[in-house]
Amino acid sequence: MTGLIAGLFAEYHESLVRMLYRRTGDRDRAEEIAQEVFARAVVAPPRNPRPWLFAVALNLVREEGRRAARQGRRLVLYKAEQPEAAEAPDEAMDRGERIARVRSALEGLTERDREALLLKAEGFSYDEIAATLGLAPGAVGTTLSRARRRLVEAYRAGEATQHVAS
Protein backbone atom coordinates (compact mmCIF):
# COMPACT_ATOMS: atom_id res chain seq x y z
CA MET A 1 0.00 0.00 0.00
CA THR A 2 2.64 2.49 1.10
CA GLY A 3 4.87 0.80 -1.43
CA LEU A 4 2.30 1.44 -4.10
CA ILE A 5 2.15 5.14 -3.34
CA ALA A 6 5.93 5.34 -3.11
CA GLY A 7 6.06 3.74 -6.54
CA LEU A 8 3.54 6.20 -7.92
CA PHE A 9 5.47 9.04 -6.36
CA ALA A 10 8.73 7.87 -7.88
CA GLU A 11 7.14 7.43 -11.26
CA TYR A 12 4.92 10.48 -11.56
CA HIS A 13 5.94 13.16 -9.10
CA GLU A 14 8.43 14.91 -11.31
CA SER A 15 6.10 14.87 -14.29
CA LEU A 16 3.20 16.09 -12.17
CA VAL A 17 5.18 18.98 -10.72
CA ARG A 18 6.37 19.97 -14.18
CA MET A 19 2.85 19.96 -15.55
CA LEU A 20 1.61 21.94 -12.56
CA TYR A 21 4.42 24.41 -12.86
CA ARG A 22 3.63 24.95 -16.52
CA ARG A 23 0.02 25.43 -15.55
CA THR A 24 0.47 27.73 -12.56
CA GLY A 25 3.85 29.38 -13.06
CA ASP A 26 4.56 28.91 -9.38
CA ARG A 27 6.92 26.19 -8.34
CA ASP A 28 6.01 26.17 -4.67
CA ARG A 29 2.36 25.97 -5.51
CA ALA A 30 3.05 23.20 -8.00
CA GLU A 31 4.81 21.16 -5.34
CA GLU A 32 2.12 21.81 -2.75
CA ILE A 33 -0.58 20.67 -5.11
CA ALA A 34 1.43 17.60 -6.04
CA GLN A 35 1.81 16.75 -2.35
CA GLU A 36 -1.91 17.13 -1.89
CA VAL A 37 -2.57 14.85 -4.85
CA PHE A 38 -0.39 12.09 -3.45
CA ALA A 39 -1.93 12.55 -0.03
CA ARG A 40 -5.31 11.88 -1.62
CA ALA A 41 -3.91 8.88 -3.45
CA VAL A 42 -2.94 7.39 -0.10
CA VAL A 43 -6.53 7.71 1.09
CA ALA A 44 -8.05 6.28 -2.08
CA PRO A 45 -5.50 4.39 -4.15
CA PRO A 46 -6.35 4.95 -7.82
CA ARG A 47 -6.79 2.11 -10.22
CA ASN A 48 -5.65 3.99 -13.30
CA PRO A 49 -3.03 6.08 -11.57
CA ARG A 50 -1.65 8.49 -14.12
CA PRO A 51 -4.95 9.94 -15.39
CA TRP A 52 -6.24 9.93 -11.82
CA LEU A 53 -3.28 11.83 -10.39
CA PHE A 54 -3.30 14.43 -13.14
CA ALA A 55 -7.06 14.83 -13.10
CA VAL A 56 -7.03 15.48 -9.35
CA ALA A 57 -4.16 17.93 -9.77
CA LEU A 58 -5.94 19.84 -12.53
CA ASN A 59 -9.12 19.91 -10.46
CA LEU A 60 -7.21 21.42 -7.58
CA VAL A 61 -5.77 24.06 -9.88
CA ARG A 62 -9.22 24.89 -11.23
CA GLU A 63 -10.75 25.03 -7.75
CA GLU A 64 -8.01 27.32 -6.65
CA GLY A 65 -8.58 29.48 -9.68
CA ARG A 66 -12.28 29.77 -8.94
CA ARG A 67 -11.61 30.60 -5.31
CA ALA A 68 -9.09 33.22 -6.31
CA ALA A 69 -11.51 34.68 -8.82
CA ARG A 70 -14.22 34.91 -6.16
CA GLN A 71 -11.87 36.73 -3.88
CA GLY A 72 -10.94 39.09 -6.66
CA ARG A 73 -7.35 38.04 -6.58
CA ARG A 74 -5.23 37.59 -9.61
CA LEU A 75 -5.57 34.11 -10.89
CA VAL A 76 -2.02 33.21 -11.55
CA LEU A 77 1.00 34.64 -9.98
CA TYR A 78 3.99 34.63 -12.22
CA LYS A 79 7.25 34.57 -10.50
CA ALA A 80 10.25 35.79 -12.39
CA GLU A 81 11.89 32.88 -14.13
CA GLN A 82 15.24 32.28 -12.57
CA PRO A 83 17.82 32.36 -15.28
CA GLU A 84 20.69 29.95 -14.96
CA ALA A 85 23.72 31.47 -13.36
CA ALA A 86 25.85 30.25 -16.23
CA GLU A 87 23.68 31.90 -18.83
CA ALA A 88 24.84 35.07 -20.43
CA PRO A 89 22.61 38.00 -19.40
CA ASP A 90 21.23 38.69 -22.86
CA GLU A 91 20.51 35.03 -23.44
CA ALA A 92 18.74 34.79 -20.13
CA MET A 93 16.71 37.82 -21.07
CA ASP A 94 15.84 36.36 -24.41
CA ARG A 95 14.86 33.08 -22.84
CA GLY A 96 12.81 34.82 -20.18
CA GLU A 97 10.96 36.74 -22.85
CA ARG A 98 10.23 33.66 -24.86
CA ILE A 99 8.92 31.87 -21.79
CA ALA A 100 6.74 34.84 -20.92
CA ARG A 101 5.32 34.75 -24.44
CA VAL A 102 4.64 31.03 -24.20
CA ARG A 103 2.89 31.59 -20.88
CA SER A 104 0.78 34.34 -22.26
CA ALA A 105 -0.07 32.23 -25.30
CA LEU A 106 -1.04 29.33 -23.02
CA GLU A 107 -3.21 31.64 -20.95
CA GLY A 108 -5.11 32.57 -24.09
CA LEU A 109 -6.20 28.98 -24.71
CA THR A 110 -9.33 27.44 -23.30
CA GLU A 111 -8.86 25.42 -20.18
CA ARG A 112 -9.43 22.15 -22.01
CA ASP A 113 -7.03 22.96 -24.85
CA ARG A 114 -4.35 24.04 -22.42
CA GLU A 115 -4.72 20.97 -20.26
CA ALA A 116 -4.63 18.64 -23.24
CA LEU A 117 -1.39 20.27 -24.40
CA LEU A 118 0.23 20.04 -20.99
CA LEU A 119 -0.76 16.40 -20.61
CA LYS A 120 0.57 15.56 -24.06
CA ALA A 121 3.85 17.19 -23.10
CA GLU A 122 4.04 14.67 -20.25
CA GLY A 123 3.78 11.82 -22.72
CA PHE A 124 0.09 11.03 -22.23
CA SER A 125 -1.59 8.89 -24.84
CA TYR A 126 -4.89 10.02 -26.31
CA ASP A 127 -6.72 7.50 -24.16
CA GLU A 128 -5.05 8.84 -21.05
CA ILE A 129 -5.82 12.43 -22.02
CA ALA A 130 -9.42 11.46 -22.63
CA ALA A 131 -9.61 9.70 -19.26
CA THR A 132 -8.01 12.62 -17.44
CA LEU A 133 -10.10 15.34 -18.97
CA GLY A 134 -13.32 13.42 -19.40
CA LEU A 135 -13.24 13.77 -23.17
CA ALA A 136 -14.38 11.29 -25.74
CA PRO A 137 -11.27 9.52 -27.01
CA GLY A 138 -12.16 10.56 -30.54
CA ALA A 139 -12.10 14.21 -29.55
CA VAL A 140 -8.50 14.32 -28.36
CA GLY A 141 -6.93 14.69 -31.81
CA THR A 142 -9.20 17.59 -32.65
CA THR A 143 -8.58 19.21 -29.28
CA LEU A 144 -4.83 18.90 -29.68
CA SER A 145 -4.79 20.12 -33.25
CA ARG A 146 -6.72 23.24 -32.24
CA ALA A 147 -4.66 23.77 -29.09
CA ARG A 148 -1.35 23.45 -30.90
CA ARG A 149 -2.36 25.78 -33.68
CA ARG A 150 -3.69 28.42 -31.29
CA LEU A 151 -0.63 28.20 -29.10
CA VAL A 152 1.74 28.62 -32.01
CA GLU A 153 -0.28 31.42 -33.55
CA ALA A 154 -0.59 33.30 -30.27
CA TYR A 155 3.11 32.88 -29.67
CA ARG A 156 3.96 34.17 -33.12
CA ALA A 157 1.60 37.11 -32.69
CA GLY A 158 3.38 37.96 -29.44
CA GLU A 159 6.66 37.73 -31.26
CA ALA A 160 5.49 40.12 -33.96
CA THR A 161 4.25 42.64 -31.39
CA GLN A 162 7.55 42.41 -29.66
CA HIS A 163 9.45 43.24 -32.81
CA VAL A 164 7.23 46.16 -33.65
CA ALA A 165 7.63 47.51 -30.15
CA SER A 166 11.39 47.27 -30.05
Binding site: F9, R95, A121, G138, V140, T142, S145, R148
Partner: protein, 336 residues
Amino acid sequence: MSHLEAGLIHALLDGEIPSAELPAIQAHLAACADCRARLEEESRMQAEAGRLVELIEVPVRTSGSPAARFSSGAPRAWPRRFAWAATLVLAVGLGYAVRGSRSDTSTITPATNTTAVASPQTAVAAEAAVPSPPAAKVLASQPARDKPVQPRRANAAARDGRKESAPRQEEPKREARVAADAAAQSEGALGRAAPAAPAAPAEVATAAPKPAPLVTPPAPPGFAALRAGERRPRLDEIVAAGAPERSAAAKAAVNPVPIEFPEAVRRLGGALRLIEGMVPIRLEAAGDDVRVVYLLEHGELVLAQRRTEGRVTFSLTATPRLPADSLERLRALVRE
Protein backbone atom coordinates in the same frame (compact mmCIF):
# COMPACT_ATOMS: atom_id res chain seq x y z
CA MET B 1 -11.90 8.99 -48.85
CA SER B 2 -12.54 12.62 -48.08
CA HIS B 3 -9.79 14.94 -46.95
CA LEU B 4 -8.07 14.23 -43.68
CA GLU B 5 -9.37 16.24 -40.75
CA ALA B 6 -6.92 18.11 -38.57
CA GLY B 7 -7.74 15.88 -35.63
CA LEU B 8 -6.96 12.79 -37.63
CA ILE B 9 -3.71 14.28 -38.89
CA HIS B 10 -2.63 15.00 -35.34
CA ALA B 11 -3.62 11.52 -34.23
CA LEU B 12 -1.49 10.25 -37.08
CA LEU B 13 1.44 12.44 -36.08
CA ASP B 14 1.07 11.37 -32.46
CA GLY B 15 1.13 7.71 -33.41
CA GLU B 16 -2.43 7.19 -32.25
CA ILE B 17 -3.83 5.62 -35.40
CA PRO B 18 -4.23 1.85 -35.20
CA SER B 19 -2.11 0.18 -37.82
CA ALA B 20 -5.18 -1.37 -39.41
CA GLU B 21 -6.39 2.10 -40.34
CA LEU B 22 -3.09 3.31 -41.72
CA PRO B 23 -3.29 1.91 -45.27
CA ALA B 24 -6.42 3.89 -46.17
CA ILE B 25 -4.86 7.07 -44.84
CA GLN B 26 -1.60 6.42 -46.62
CA ALA B 27 -3.45 5.75 -49.83
CA HIS B 28 -5.26 9.03 -49.51
CA LEU B 29 -2.05 10.89 -48.76
CA ALA B 30 -0.37 9.34 -51.75
CA ALA B 31 -3.17 10.63 -53.96
CA CYS B 32 -3.85 14.01 -52.38
CA ALA B 33 -1.28 16.77 -52.54
CA ASP B 34 -3.46 19.04 -50.40
CA CYS B 35 -3.49 16.60 -47.54
CA ARG B 36 0.24 15.99 -47.85
CA ALA B 37 0.80 19.71 -47.56
CA ARG B 38 -1.49 19.89 -44.55
CA LEU B 39 0.29 16.98 -42.98
CA GLU B 40 3.57 18.85 -43.34
CA GLU B 41 2.02 21.98 -41.94
CA GLU B 42 0.38 20.24 -38.99
CA SER B 43 3.60 18.40 -38.33
CA ARG B 44 5.34 21.75 -37.95
CA MET B 45 2.56 22.92 -35.62
CA GLN B 46 2.87 19.80 -33.57
CA ALA B 47 6.64 20.12 -33.29
CA GLU B 48 6.61 23.82 -32.55
CA ALA B 49 3.85 23.59 -29.96
CA GLY B 50 5.81 20.83 -28.25
CA ARG B 51 8.96 22.93 -28.23
CA LEU B 52 7.12 25.94 -26.85
CA VAL B 53 5.59 24.02 -23.97
CA GLU B 54 8.93 22.44 -23.18
CA LEU B 55 10.50 25.87 -22.92
CA ILE B 56 8.82 26.16 -19.57
CA GLU B 57 10.92 24.16 -17.22
CA VAL B 58 10.64 23.91 -13.49
CA PRO B 59 13.23 26.35 -12.20
CA VAL B 60 16.19 25.02 -10.33
CA ARG B 61 16.14 25.83 -6.67
CA THR B 62 19.29 27.74 -5.97
CA SER B 63 18.77 28.59 -2.33
CA GLY B 64 18.14 26.47 0.71
CA SER B 65 19.50 23.10 1.56
CA PRO B 66 18.50 20.36 -0.85
CA ALA B 67 18.73 17.86 1.99
CA ALA B 68 16.11 19.73 3.96
CA ARG B 69 13.72 19.59 1.06
CA PHE B 70 14.31 15.94 0.38
CA SER B 71 13.51 15.01 3.94
CA SER B 72 9.88 15.87 3.40
CA GLY B 73 9.47 13.65 0.38
CA ALA B 74 9.30 9.93 -0.09
CA PRO B 75 12.73 8.48 0.55
CA ARG B 76 13.20 6.78 -2.78
CA ALA B 77 11.98 9.63 -4.84
CA TRP B 78 14.45 12.35 -4.22
CA PRO B 79 16.74 12.01 -7.19
CA ARG B 80 13.75 12.31 -9.48
CA ARG B 81 13.08 15.73 -8.22
CA PHE B 82 16.26 16.78 -9.90
CA ALA B 83 15.92 15.77 -13.46
CA TRP B 84 18.32 18.54 -14.22
CA ALA B 85 20.96 16.83 -12.13
CA ALA B 86 21.45 14.25 -14.84
CA THR B 87 22.00 17.00 -17.32
CA LEU B 88 24.38 18.61 -14.94
CA VAL B 89 26.26 15.37 -14.60
CA LEU B 90 26.81 15.52 -18.31
CA ALA B 91 27.96 19.07 -18.11
CA VAL B 92 30.39 18.31 -15.34
CA GLY B 93 31.62 15.22 -17.10
CA LEU B 94 32.36 17.16 -20.22
CA GLY B 95 34.77 19.19 -18.23
CA TYR B 96 33.07 22.52 -17.91
CA ALA B 97 33.61 24.73 -14.97
CA VAL B 98 30.14 24.84 -13.51
CA ARG B 99 29.62 28.34 -12.40
CA GLY B 100 26.49 27.65 -10.43
CA SER B 101 26.21 27.07 -6.73
CA ARG B 102 28.14 24.33 -5.04
CA SER B 103 25.08 22.71 -3.64
CA ASP B 104 23.99 21.83 -7.13
CA THR B 105 26.97 19.69 -7.89
CA SER B 106 27.12 18.14 -4.47
CA THR B 107 23.77 16.46 -4.95
CA ILE B 108 25.30 14.26 -7.59
CA THR B 109 27.61 12.45 -5.27
CA PRO B 110 25.00 10.81 -3.04
CA ALA B 111 23.09 9.78 -6.09
CA THR B 112 26.08 7.93 -7.46
CA ASN B 113 26.78 6.26 -4.17
CA THR B 114 23.23 5.17 -3.71
CA THR B 115 23.16 3.43 -7.03
CA ALA B 116 26.31 1.57 -6.38
CA VAL B 117 24.63 0.06 -3.36
CA ALA B 118 21.32 -0.36 -5.07
CA SER B 119 22.50 -2.56 -7.86
CA PRO B 120 25.61 -4.44 -6.86
CA GLN B 121 24.57 -7.54 -8.72
CA THR B 122 24.22 -5.76 -11.98
CA ALA B 123 26.07 -7.43 -14.73
CA VAL B 124 26.78 -5.44 -17.79
CA ALA B 125 27.39 -6.79 -21.19
CA ALA B 126 30.40 -5.64 -23.02
CA GLU B 127 30.12 -4.70 -26.61
CA ALA B 128 31.10 -6.64 -29.64
CA ALA B 129 29.31 -5.15 -32.58
CA VAL B 130 28.61 -1.66 -31.49
CA PRO B 131 28.14 1.28 -33.74
CA SER B 132 31.28 3.17 -34.30
CA PRO B 133 32.73 5.70 -34.09
CA PRO B 134 30.18 7.36 -31.89
CA ALA B 135 29.48 4.81 -29.24
CA ALA B 136 31.15 5.19 -25.93
CA LYS B 137 30.24 2.39 -23.63
CA VAL B 138 30.56 2.06 -19.95
CA LEU B 139 30.94 -1.24 -18.27
CA ALA B 140 29.57 -2.06 -14.88
CA SER B 141 31.86 -1.34 -12.01
CA GLN B 142 34.48 -0.01 -14.29
CA PRO B 143 36.06 3.07 -12.85
CA ALA B 144 36.41 4.52 -16.28
CA ARG B 145 38.44 7.63 -16.26
CA ASP B 146 38.95 8.41 -19.86
CA LYS B 147 39.86 11.90 -20.68
CA PRO B 148 37.06 14.14 -21.78
CA VAL B 149 37.00 14.56 -25.47
CA GLN B 150 39.05 17.39 -26.73
CA PRO B 151 36.90 20.38 -27.50
CA ARG B 152 36.58 20.92 -31.14
CA ARG B 153 34.24 22.72 -33.42
CA ALA B 154 31.26 20.62 -34.25
CA ASN B 155 29.71 21.18 -37.60
CA ALA B 156 26.49 22.98 -38.18
CA ALA B 157 24.48 19.80 -38.14
CA ALA B 158 25.44 19.25 -34.54
CA ARG B 159 23.83 22.43 -33.45
CA ASP B 160 20.59 21.76 -35.15
CA GLY B 161 17.30 21.52 -33.46
CA ARG B 162 17.72 21.06 -29.79
CA LYS B 163 18.12 24.62 -28.81
CA GLU B 164 14.72 24.92 -27.30
CA SER B 165 14.20 21.53 -25.84
CA ALA B 166 16.72 22.02 -23.04
CA PRO B 167 17.43 25.68 -23.01
CA ARG B 168 18.30 25.95 -19.35
CA GLN B 169 21.66 24.49 -20.10
CA GLU B 170 22.36 27.08 -22.69
CA GLU B 171 25.88 27.85 -21.60
CA PRO B 172 27.20 24.35 -21.13
CA LYS B 173 25.37 23.41 -24.27
CA ARG B 174 27.29 25.81 -26.35
CA GLU B 175 30.40 24.21 -25.06
CA ALA B 176 28.87 20.82 -25.50
CA ARG B 177 28.47 21.65 -29.14
CA VAL B 178 32.14 22.15 -29.21
CA ALA B 179 32.65 18.82 -27.57
CA ALA B 180 30.04 17.08 -29.65
CA ASP B 181 31.66 14.77 -32.04
CA ALA B 182 31.62 12.77 -35.16
CA ALA B 183 28.47 10.83 -34.50
CA ALA B 184 26.28 13.82 -35.00
CA GLN B 185 27.93 14.39 -38.30
CA SER B 186 27.04 11.15 -39.91
CA GLU B 187 24.06 9.08 -39.07
CA GLY B 188 24.97 6.70 -41.78
CA ALA B 189 27.92 5.57 -39.74
CA LEU B 190 25.63 4.36 -37.01
CA GLY B 191 24.64 1.21 -38.75
CA ARG B 192 28.17 0.11 -39.43
CA ALA B 193 29.55 -2.66 -37.33
CA ALA B 194 32.69 -1.82 -35.46
CA PRO B 195 35.58 -3.85 -34.20
CA ALA B 196 35.20 -4.86 -30.59
CA ALA B 197 36.42 -2.29 -28.15
CA PRO B 198 39.47 -3.40 -26.28
CA ALA B 199 38.09 -2.46 -22.89
CA ALA B 200 38.06 -5.44 -20.55
CA PRO B 201 38.21 -4.31 -16.95
CA ALA B 202 39.05 -6.82 -14.27
CA GLU B 203 35.76 -6.71 -12.42
CA VAL B 204 33.73 -7.27 -15.49
CA ALA B 205 35.96 -10.10 -16.54
CA THR B 206 35.15 -11.99 -13.37
CA ALA B 207 31.49 -11.18 -13.44
CA ALA B 208 30.95 -11.98 -17.07
CA PRO B 209 33.76 -13.93 -18.63
CA LYS B 210 31.97 -14.08 -21.94
CA PRO B 211 30.69 -10.62 -22.62
CA ALA B 212 27.42 -10.95 -24.40
CA PRO B 213 27.37 -8.88 -27.55
CA LEU B 214 24.70 -6.30 -27.73
CA VAL B 215 23.83 -5.09 -31.14
CA THR B 216 22.78 -1.53 -31.07
CA PRO B 217 20.53 -0.69 -33.97
CA PRO B 218 20.92 2.60 -35.74
CA ALA B 219 19.28 5.67 -34.45
CA PRO B 220 16.33 6.78 -36.55
CA PRO B 221 17.26 9.38 -39.08
CA GLY B 222 16.76 12.99 -38.37
CA PHE B 223 16.24 15.09 -35.31
CA ALA B 224 12.52 15.28 -35.88
CA ALA B 225 12.33 11.61 -35.19
CA LEU B 226 14.56 11.98 -32.14
CA ARG B 227 12.37 14.64 -30.67
CA ALA B 228 9.13 13.04 -31.39
CA GLY B 229 8.92 10.52 -28.62
CA GLU B 230 7.06 7.31 -28.25
CA ARG B 231 5.03 5.93 -31.04
CA ARG B 232 5.13 8.67 -33.53
CA PRO B 233 5.53 7.49 -37.07
CA ARG B 234 7.95 9.52 -39.08
CA LEU B 235 6.69 11.54 -41.93
CA ASP B 236 8.66 9.38 -44.29
CA GLU B 237 6.79 6.37 -42.99
CA ILE B 238 3.44 8.01 -43.41
CA VAL B 239 4.02 9.38 -46.83
CA ALA B 240 5.35 6.29 -48.45
CA ALA B 241 6.20 8.05 -51.67
CA GLY B 242 9.32 10.12 -51.60
CA ALA B 243 10.61 8.64 -48.39
CA PRO B 244 14.24 9.49 -47.79
CA GLU B 245 16.52 6.62 -48.59
CA ARG B 246 18.17 4.88 -45.77
CA SER B 247 21.60 3.47 -46.07
CA ALA B 248 21.94 -0.21 -46.84
CA ALA B 249 23.77 -0.69 -43.58
CA ALA B 250 20.91 0.84 -41.65
CA LYS B 251 18.41 -1.39 -43.38
CA ALA B 252 20.46 -4.46 -42.66
CA ALA B 253 20.59 -3.80 -38.91
CA VAL B 254 17.78 -4.90 -36.64
CA ASN B 255 15.05 -2.33 -36.88
CA PRO B 256 13.91 -1.17 -33.49
CA VAL B 257 10.17 -1.46 -32.94
CA PRO B 258 8.43 0.96 -30.60
CA ILE B 259 6.93 -0.76 -27.59
CA GLU B 260 4.94 0.28 -24.56
CA PHE B 261 6.09 0.22 -20.97
CA PRO B 262 4.20 -2.93 -19.93
CA GLU B 263 5.56 -4.79 -22.94
CA ALA B 264 9.10 -3.73 -22.08
CA VAL B 265 8.65 -4.92 -18.52
CA ARG B 266 7.22 -8.19 -19.74
CA ARG B 267 10.11 -8.84 -22.09
CA LEU B 268 12.58 -8.30 -19.30
CA GLY B 269 10.72 -10.48 -16.83
CA GLY B 270 9.51 -7.58 -14.71
CA ALA B 271 12.73 -5.66 -14.23
CA LEU B 272 12.99 -2.73 -16.57
CA ARG B 273 15.89 -0.47 -15.77
CA LEU B 274 15.64 3.27 -16.12
CA ILE B 275 17.98 6.14 -15.49
CA GLU B 276 16.99 7.93 -12.35
CA GLY B 277 16.00 11.49 -12.94
CA MET B 278 15.74 11.25 -16.72
CA VAL B 279 12.62 10.84 -18.75
CA PRO B 280 12.87 8.42 -21.65
CA ILE B 281 11.63 9.60 -25.03
CA ARG B 282 10.69 6.13 -26.15
CA LEU B 283 10.96 2.43 -25.57
CA GLU B 284 11.91 0.06 -28.34
CA ALA B 285 12.51 -3.58 -28.93
CA ALA B 286 15.39 -4.54 -31.19
CA GLY B 287 15.93 -8.26 -31.42
CA ASP B 288 16.31 -9.48 -27.86
CA ASP B 289 17.12 -6.01 -26.61
CA VAL B 290 14.76 -3.65 -24.93
CA ARG B 291 16.06 -0.17 -25.53
CA VAL B 292 15.17 2.76 -23.34
CA VAL B 293 16.05 5.86 -25.28
CA TYR B 294 16.78 9.22 -23.71
CA LEU B 295 17.37 12.49 -25.40
CA LEU B 296 20.72 14.16 -24.99
CA GLU B 297 21.73 17.59 -26.13
CA HIS B 298 22.84 16.32 -29.50
CA GLY B 299 21.63 12.83 -29.80
CA GLU B 300 20.47 9.92 -27.80
CA LEU B 301 21.41 7.89 -24.84
CA VAL B 302 20.37 4.29 -25.19
CA LEU B 303 19.99 1.98 -22.24
CA ALA B 304 19.83 -1.41 -23.92
CA GLN B 305 18.91 -4.37 -21.78
CA ARG B 306 18.11 -7.98 -22.38
CA ARG B 307 17.20 -11.01 -20.39
CA THR B 308 19.32 -14.07 -20.82
CA GLU B 309 19.09 -17.09 -18.56
CA GLY B 310 17.07 -15.19 -16.00
CA ARG B 311 19.59 -12.41 -15.73
CA VAL B 312 19.17 -8.94 -17.12
CA THR B 313 22.23 -7.33 -18.56
CA PHE B 314 22.42 -3.82 -19.81
CA SER B 315 24.65 -1.46 -21.69
CA LEU B 316 24.66 2.26 -22.00
CA THR B 317 25.48 3.92 -25.28
CA ALA B 318 25.48 7.55 -26.19
CA THR B 319 25.56 9.03 -29.62
CA PRO B 320 27.45 11.19 -30.12
CA ARG B 321 30.08 9.87 -27.79
CA LEU B 322 30.37 11.16 -24.27
CA PRO B 323 33.44 11.00 -22.12
CA ALA B 324 33.53 7.67 -20.35
CA ASP B 325 33.33 9.18 -16.90
CA SER B 326 30.16 11.07 -17.80
CA LEU B 327 28.64 7.86 -19.07
CA GLU B 328 29.74 6.10 -15.97
CA ARG B 329 28.00 8.62 -13.78
CA LEU B 330 24.87 8.15 -15.80
CA ARG B 331 25.30 4.44 -15.50
CA ALA B 332 25.38 4.83 -11.75
CA LEU B 333 21.91 6.33 -11.98
CA VAL B 334 20.47 3.26 -13.66
CA ARG B 335 17.74 1.86 -11.45
CA GLU B 336 15.56 -1.17 -11.65
